[in-house]
Symmetry: T
Subunit: 150 residues, 12 copies
Amino acid sequence: MKILVINGPNLNLLGRREPQTYGKNTLRDIEDNLREQAEHLGVEIDFFQSNHEGALIDCLHTAIGKVDAVIINPGAYSHYSIALRDAIAAVDYPVVEIHLSNIYSREPFRHHTVTSAVVNGQISGFGPFSYTLGLMAAVDLARQRQSDES
Amino acid sequence: MKILVINGPNLNLLGRREPQTYGKNTLRDIEDNLREQAEHLGVEIDFFQSNHEGALIDCLHTAIGKVDAVIINPGAYSHYSIALRDAIAAVDYPVVEIHLSNIYSREPFRHHTVTSAVVNGQISGFGPFSYTLGLMAAVDLARQRQSDES
Amino acid sequence: MKILVINGPNLNLLGRREPQTYGKNTLRDIEDNLREQAEHLGVEIDFFQSNHEGALIDCLHTAIGKVDAVIINPGAYSHYSIALRDAIAAVDYPVVEIHLSNIYSREPFRHHTVTSAVVNGQISGFGPFSYTLGLMAAVDLARQRQSDES
Amino acid sequence: MKILVINGPNLNLLGRREPQTYGKNTLRDIEDNLREQAEHLGVEIDFFQSNHEGALIDCLHTAIGKVDAVIINPGAYSHYSIALRDAIAAVDYPVVEIHLSNIYSREPFRHHTVTSAVVNGQISGFGPFSYTLGLMAAVDLARQRQSDES
Amino acid sequence: MKILVINGPNLNLLGRREPQTYGKNTLRDIEDNLREQAEHLGVEIDFFQSNHEGALIDCLHTAIGKVDAVIINPGAYSHYSIALRDAIAAVDYPVVEIHLSNIYSREPFRHHTVTSAVVNGQISGFGPFSYTLGLMAAVDLARQRQSDES
Amino acid sequence: MKILVINGPNLNLLGRREPQTYGKNTLRDIEDNLREQAEHLGVEIDFFQSNHEGALIDCLHTAIGKVDAVIINPGAYSHYSIALRDAIAAVDYPVVEIHLSNIYSREPFRHHTVTSAVVNGQISGFGPFSYTLGLMAAVDLARQRQSDES
Amino acid sequence: MKILVINGPNLNLLGRREPQTYGKNTLRDIEDNLREQAEHLGVEIDFFQSNHEGALIDCLHTAIGKVDAVIINPGAYSHYSIALRDAIAAVDYPVVEIHLSNIYSREPFRHHTVTSAVVNGQISGFGPFSYTLGLMAAVDLARQRQSDES
Amino acid sequence: MKILVINGPNLNLLGRREPQTYGKNTLRDIEDNLREQAEHLGVEIDFFQSNHEGALIDCLHTAIGKVDAVIINPGAYSHYSIALRDAIAAVDYPVVEIHLSNIYSREPFRHHTVTSAVVNGQISGFGPFSYTLGLMAAVDLARQRQSDES
Amino acid sequence: MKILVINGPNLNLLGRREPQTYGKNTLRDIEDNLREQAEHLGVEIDFFQSNHEGALIDCLHTAIGKVDAVIINPGAYSHYSIALRDAIAAVDYPVVEIHLSNIYSREPFRHHTVTSAVVNGQISGFGPFSYTLGLMAAVDLARQRQSDES
Amino acid sequence: MKILVINGPNLNLLGRREPQTYGKNTLRDIEDNLREQAEHLGVEIDFFQSNHEGALIDCLHTAIGKVDAVIINPGAYSHYSIALRDAIAAVDYPVVEIHLSNIYSREPFRHHTVTSAVVNGQISGFGPFSYTLGLMAAVDLARQRQSDES
Amino acid sequence: MKILVINGPNLNLLGRREPQTYGKNTLRDIEDNLREQAEHLGVEIDFFQSNHEGALIDCLHTAIGKVDAVIINPGAYSHYSIALRDAIAAVDYPVVEIHLSNIYSREPFRHHTVTSAVVNGQISGFGPFSYTLGLMAAVDLARQRQSDES
Amino acid sequence: MKILVINGPNLNLLGRREPQTYGKNTLRDIEDNLREQAEHLGVEIDFFQSNHEGALIDCLHTAIGKVDAVIINPGAYSHYSIALRDAIAAVDYPVVEIHLSNIYSREPFRHHTVTSAVVNGQISGFGPFSYTLGLMAAVDLARQRQSDES
């Protein structure tokens, strides 16, 4: 089983950007952590980060037929990228949307997302632990799909 | 460590009500499942369900000083009960909001919640597995709080 | 055949409250009237009134498997109780929503209802006669359902 | 006592148009049915249908002094014809608005009506039985008016 | 010089309809009055009334090349008939919009008009005297146009 | 009979300001014209202009008991001065609101006025001729009032 | 194969009305042009124009069973005639909506249409060539339908 | 003279909940204080608190004929409980609405209340002193009512 | 201790303007009453009234360092004068906003105020008694401030 | 004559993505088809597809002076990319916007486009045939432009 | 060359009012600074401040023909004074709008301005340095205008 | 001291695109001009332009620790790129937002920006001179920061 973790714009700055909102862990710390957890669960894990909307869409397309589930933190693109939404709706594997902060307790324009309607489920507000929960959810969804198909 | 799971209106009908949206598990099935998981994690777990807004608020109040974290599925009250929101904001223990269905892919009036802004984090769309993730998140938050306090 | 008539908040004050809007009949008068009509139609009839949103939901749940149709005047809860709406959507018997006054010729906040979308039909503006029409509609729906099932 | 039944745009297609929404009865079936019921009630009944907003207004005007009550299914004109609304507000006999389908469980633009504020009462969602309930309501209103005047 | 006075829906009921809003004068009274005033001003005057949106548009079209100005009371069509608006925008003679009542002190949906943006000017709230002022304005506009053209 | 003409902000610039919108006549030209017309009608006429919202309100107050009607061009204050609206609502003489340009064919923020709901009638779009029509309307209203009182 | 071309309000003025927006061709020119093109394509073509909403609806109804596709330019009725929308939704032949001008680069109230949701496709902004494209689309849709049915 | 003080949801937590917003006094402190003040004024005083919307409505109903005025702090129910609003509108004694905090300087959803339109007057922002002012206002209203009735 | 009472636009007409809304007391009556009450409380009191937004702002500025608290009835300026709001936010003494009528049961545009967010507290709906309650609140706030500073 | 066909995000998945909405043809099929049609019309044709907003803008810029017209299917960027809109507005060749599906009968957020206001015309809802119609429209516009310039 | 600097409501309090938002400089400090800078640039400079909307309008009018450009900080009037907007639109000299604070990072009601649409340019957020930049912009605009005219 | 100037989408077309809105200067002209001015001020200056949202974000990230301030003209991305907004909020150097045209006097969708809330200040409407003012502002902010740090 293979899980892909996609991180959107500005998440490369993690640990350096507004630490009171996003915490002190760097993206590298989070990825190292997840790799370890994946190993425990016996699943393969890959990572991709880009600030480019088009690159995130390309990545979702390319993953078709290659991964069993995707965990995506679309960052700010959650709030307006209908193109990203359409890409998520177009792929056939389960997608879990995660956010580090609780987007519903921040500025009003962050309360609305265009991507949430097309993912399988959403997890937000638990800091780096959102990724851990996302990994468990992705593995669970991938397993359900495998058992549905068999 | 003690975790309380609170379920709001109509969740007592689970398994019987619109199974295509909410699945075939009864609330009892979910609670049994969670009790088992809690045992594995070495935490005590309690359950409360009511269709009464006031009873849910009373329950949140009474839990002050008695529980380490709460998992709440506020059901429809998520969308308009500012009184419930104020109760959550008033308590001192961490609160995790969970939903069985992905509320963002349902009717427009379910896309807005008044409770999400005051909980620690939100998990939605994973069916009964939302509760499992919620339990893990609640335990994690309770542990953080214990280590912050010590 | 058994019909249940549920009345929501403040309807216990009928006859005493704003008679220019709601008329001079008490809820008791209306219930006596309906009982007589039900007898003529050869159907059993029961009544419930509460000012508590949760009690109305409990009542709708309890009626599952016990009644053939429900007539509900949700009063002010029509306009905001998504929990009540979910309860109506969850039950399997037909539900007729009635209002004494024409809610569309009153204050703007009464023009919008959350319950109407999930009932079978709505009757409003005929005073106590709304209940009479509601009884006929409920009986008709219950009969259709019986003949559909047989 | 004389009752006039007015049907608005596209209702002439009844039975042929979107039967899953509007049922299999033709307008003719419904009118035959109503004529029979009117006979039982001892009231005279007349019918008018037009797709022309102006013709519906003319018909409402002409009926002044000739009918004791009107049952109107304004079809789509319910949602925007302020001219029809003004015609209803201008006549002196009672008017009952009816709809075959439950307009509140359809597209959002059908949730708002401009005519409902000026009719005596509204009945919607009971299929052809909406007309039967409308006839009873119209007769009741006409009788009240006769007894008020005498 | 020839002036055409066009009256829209329900104005044929004037004097009989809601006299507290629209006054006791019939349309006939107003037209007789205007005919007399037109004679004094040495201008020819014609009248048209219809409840049919299409008939009002046809009338505006037919008047091209035959009248020097039009006074129109579009009644309720002011508020939503974009077709009527387009007809007014399409004709080459000046158009004065008048209303008997002050539409800005009535229901909110009467505060917005679609026709006002394309007429030369608007007069509202002076009862039958609105027509007298409209006649003077129409004559003034027609004269300006004649002197502009010569 | 005494008529007062009140002009609001920026109208002192008339003839100099955006002549394509407001015409080439100065406020002085318009006042001279109106004085002549008033003389013909046998009524006394007075003028006041100010750019100060408070001065316009003071002027309306002071006129109580001294004038028979007021013609007011509130300029931009039409669109937001609720204080001016309250002053107009508080006085006991008739008030005619006039505008040089057709405010409904200009920027959207000029389509809404707060003063129109409390004046007797409104005239807009006829350039300086709006004042002439306003004078006639004011005289007519003042006469009605005198005959009502006697 | 038979195609019907329906033109809505004010299109009879084409060539005379606002030529900078709608071009110099009369409706007759466009119809002659289309007749020639239809001949080349070997299809029969008919034309109907009316300023009456009801007449357009009647025409759509009458065409059931007589035409293979309809091209409609609903003019201003696109923006508010839900009755016309319902008529289009009720017929069983394909319907192509066309507009001469690009309605999306005009006044905001023209950006929203109620008819577009129920037609097969929409073409706007190509002047008289919109009709030519509409004819091709209508023929294509009619052929698809014939091959689907056979 | 008898005054009833009703406190809504979460006010039982006063002194423990968000003290920077609601102050350090417990509800008990406030009630003791008011009892003392009432004694000085020679009026009887009673207290009721509930987190249940229905219980607050029941309490308002039961007080009819037993109290001379009510002071209510509806807490969060101010913002959405139309049922509570209807209960206040239905009772015949004067009602004073009070709030500890200035609701207009808090979150936007607290700027709108549904109860304020039907109370006699509103006092907000003075902390526990809001209750003292409310007591004075309630006594004044009750006295006016007694002198009106005598 | 010195208290300043500021009254905004149209309040000079009190007693003469719409007495059914604002009561029969003149502003002079209210001021005399307050002077007497102030004397009882042993505080000095001053009054200012103006219809000019700028004069009210000047007055608030001038009072800095000279008064211990201000009671302001901003009249219609409450609803739109952000300049007045900024002046209140800029001063260092406590400000109590009062209204004679219950602004929340009047026209919708009076339900929103821009000043309420920056005052200490608001009192509305008690007629002239609103000023009495305002005086008590102002004295209480001034005393708190004195004890905070000492 | 040279025509460029630009396809936006996710259109590379055509045939594989939601075939019930977008049909079974791949983008390659559509391009092959168009190439053939272009050959018949004697025009040169080129193709570009990208999921990157910036790449689409670069492509539009580069085409200046090299192509005679552009056919663009902006996909989801239609709904929010003001940058793409500005690029279309900036180029000097005609641009035809096409959509495979009827965007007006899909989710509400697809009813609004930012690009449509600046293209020459729009075609939507005809599946792959939308491209054929787009090609004809583009050739027609390019020819008009050539004849205008000569 | 002569430049006039106009300051609106509450700016006289600068240095004393909310220093964390507006800085510690008094208006006098800023004016002294600007006078020095103007001297360096060889331009004459004048200052005007008022809390009165009307006085600011009068000042803009009086400056016609006397100044070469105006720098205005309209303070809170930016957000609602359409009268001030009309005055700016009416004058013939260039106008630069400046704000001390970044109005777009403050309360939502400060994000919208009515004056910005009619000034030549806007500068906000640089504290007292906004005035320095405004002076440079004003001089540049005045020079352009002189060279355009010569 | 090093200043970076970032230009967003379509600004590479400057001088060629809609010159009546954006002027005749090319981006190269503006950059040459700024380089000269920077030299006079003794600061180093660099330039970057891209039509790619992601490239602009990458550029802002890369500049951390390398530049003292940034001048950004985000073009159309100002209006919707929350990703760009987050990038600006994440960097630690001052950012000045500039626009060539006065965005507040253009289409309504350009009146709202998402970036302005997080920059230090904004300058718009002065054509190429906006960049000159932006350079001065950036240098001033960088100097303040240096002196704050030292």
